[in-house]
Symmetry: C3
Subunit: 116 residues, 3 copies
């Protein structure tokens, strides 16, 4: 069975199948913020979505991080590390520098996670 | 067991394992077309591959859309919405603006789907 | 159960869940090399990680290849084909041209694979 949550016109926020959550790309609510704050906002939104769907930040499998300026990767990483206070829970990850997201967006996070 | 379909020199079009289809990036056949038509062509090719492999557009879990010009995202979205006439079937999705695909290609779609 | 291997400060190299390996992005060790050699180095590192975790190059499901110069895709493909000497084992794949990786990096490979 496929369970879909959060229909936003062109996508669902979360799709669950066979114990795995497939998430849409997550960005910060406030795209006037800098990289550290956008990262924290996106991870906060991710945490909420995971917890609402029977998972959590300790159940993330793989994350693709797309950022529009690789020079801001260290700033992103600091916010990322502060967020994952338990390093045992860190997922597999790749960080890719891309040319553009929506205006103002510095980071978009694409996640696959396991339900509990 | 891993089942692979459609060997194209450096990849297989579809790889199936444990009820999940992992697809190669799909582009339009005719890369002289504009974004709307390239999107529709790529989604038509995706539909065919899904149906030939025991899945369908109602079984897509997650899609990564890479486009070379974020200004064309609204045009892509219109073609996307016209294609998914049942919004209940919309997958998780992320749209990323990247610097380049092969010449003429405006969009490449990477898909994970469940078999029926 | 989730098994994580290779903690590198912000990520784990490999995360295993339900028979699937989710890998972090893999790059060449020596980023002064050209595309062919970076590709071979990255695929060599990938092979080692897969074999250390109960999988192998014949068990790769899907690969996302991010390269910083699409003009080097043919060179990447030659190294890729030389590496996969058995074409029956080729995974699903997408190659995306992105604006930047870490300095000197020409290619980053993101992999999903099945354990044996």
């Amino acid at each position: 069975m496929i369970k879909r949550v959060g229909n936003y016109e062109v996508l669902h926020e979360v799709v669950e199948h066979n114990g795995i959550l497939y998430l849409s790309g997550i960005v910060a609510d406030d795209t006037t913020l800098g990289m550290a704050d956008q990262t924290t906002q996106a991870l906060t939104a991710l945490t909420r979505l995971l917890e609402e769907n029977g998972s959590g930040t300790d159940r993330i499998l793989q994350v693709l991080i797309f950022i529009t300026d690789m020079k801001l990767k260290p700033e992103m990483n600091r916010a990322w590390k502060a967020f994952f206070n338990n390093p045992d829970h860190l997922p597999a990850r790749a960080t890719l520098g891309i040319s553009s997201l929506e205006e103002g967006e510095l980071i978009e996070i694409v996640t696959t996670a396991a339900v509990r």
